[in-house]
Assembly symmetry: C2
Homo-oligomer: 259 residues x 2
DNA sequence: CGAATACTTGAAATAAATCAAATAAGGTGG
DNA sequence: CCACCTTATTTGATTTATTTCAAGTATTCG
């Protein structure tokens, strides 16, 4: 989802060299590592951003650890009992809903700082699979204690409500895209959306590597993979972008937005 | 959205005969009426359902009044400052997002007990217009005091989180519908969804009156009004439903679900 | 390195949109 | 309460954007 070269500069979660702490006991086989919000480069992007420095330890008591999810592995599956939310520390994930009839549909892509699992609170079980697009790290946010802390800390509560509301908003926008836009508009909107989110995170936003396949993009946008490919090619022919496999360079964001 | 004959039996909000209380002063010209959760027939469906009887007065202190929205009028407009959520007491509403370029898109229909405005919490302003499909009544839930109360009352907090999460889930399902389903499947899913929601509310669920136009249904489903009409006609020809203008009778819900 | 997966491109098929026109329903003022 | 005007709905004929089918090429990662 982001350029590996860029990522190296911003990497905060995956242990590099001798920096990785020793794993602590993990349930279900996944190794878990102690989480330290203080000093995490994503602190301004995640739920911790709502807290004053002196309140951070309270959150760290709840978000006690993080874990790895390797490329292709699932963080959770549809039907699993809901227990935790997950905030991406590094890497990226997709969520996939399995429509009746074996048909699958990608409902979202998640970048560092974004939280997965919000749709599971209401029913007590996850409604989709969350799968890593690349080796990724996620902070584990056990929901019950998080909810408790939200009753004690007003700023945390407010931030959490905004997170939920923004997820509603994100999906509203996706619904508009899926119901009213041409395939060209969908692909253009997708590229701009990815670019904006990368920029917010401090990554290169005009030149990046897509971590998902054409098929996954198409599923997310409600079009076929061939249509994604053809549209990329057309945009390139028109000088709006450069396509080199999964690597995309945006030349004319204005023109893309105007499609 | 529901059959007027049925509605009469379940009407709890709109004053009938001499039952309507005197209006209290309303801001912005809309007349407001004191809200009484106790004795409201929708109490089991709305956010009040999470509270014990002795806690109800606390909620009533927050949800102090309700107001009418006449057919075609807006409850709020995109860009208005977010201040309150609204729970439908009677009637029905649609939410409409105005896509760049004058294009409009219906993002939801709301029945009694359902809450409008959840997408506005994150940005502090409404992201869409909410428009009454018929003369309707809504309880006004000022958000700041509601959020405060959620810190004090755990069951209320938990219910509110579930409301938000279920809205995320609803939109996920709509995204799947919009991206992967044929027009027949969309229309069938729509009819089943309306039927189920009417049933949950105690209304007739196999024989009801749609309060929205074919164009509004089409907008919601991402298809053209002619396609909605043709699909209704086809379903009728196949003996699955009976269509009489806005009045719909479902003969074979199983078969509809299997499309 | 090399099998498996992912991507591109062309040609034919198709579901739904668009254009068009007739009919029906609903609300308003006289 | 009715007549009329507007709005909503149905249905048909044609067009079109996107899918489907197909085949060759390029990547990727184990």
């Amino acid at each position: 989802m982001y350029d590996a070269v860029e990522a190296a500069n911003l990497e905060t979660a995956v242990g590099i060299g001798g920096m990785q702490p020793a794993p602590i006991s993990g349930s279900g086989g996944a190794r878990q590592f102690p989480a330290r919000c203080n000093g995490c480069g994503l602190r301004k992007l995640c739920i911790a951003s709502s807290l004053d420095p002196e309140e951070l330890p309270q959150l760290e008591a709840v978000v006690s650890h993080w874990r790895m999810v390797h490329r292709g592995e699932s963080l959770f599956r549809a039907g699993d009992r809901f227990q935790s939310l997950y905030t991406v520390r590094s890497g990226s994930l997709k969520t996939v809903a399995s429509h009746a009839g074996g048909h699958e549909h990608v409902t979202g892509f998640f970048l560092p700082g974004e939280t997965v699992g919000l749709g599971a609170i209401g029913e007590g079980e996850y409604d989709c699979d969350a799968i890593a697009l690349e080796d990724s790290a996620v902070c584990v946010l056990p929901f019950a204690p998080l909810e408790s802390l939200c009753r004690d800390v007003k700023s945390l509560q407010q931030h959490f409500h905004k997170m939920l509301s923004r997820e509603i908003l994100r999906e509203s926008k996706q619904m508009i895209l899926l119901s009213g836009m041409t395939s060209e508009q969908r692909v253009a909107a997708f590229l701009i959306n990815v670019s904006n989110r990368l920029q917010e995170r401090g990554y290169a936003s005009r030149d990046f590597t897509l971590r998902m396949t054409r098929e996954e993009i198409g599923s997310y946008l409600g079009i076929k993979l061939e249509t994604v490919s053809r549209t990329f090619s057309r945009f390139q022919r028109e000088g709006l972008i450069r396509v080199d496999g999964k690597r995309i360079e945006l030349f004319d964001i204005e023109a893309l937005a105007a499609i």
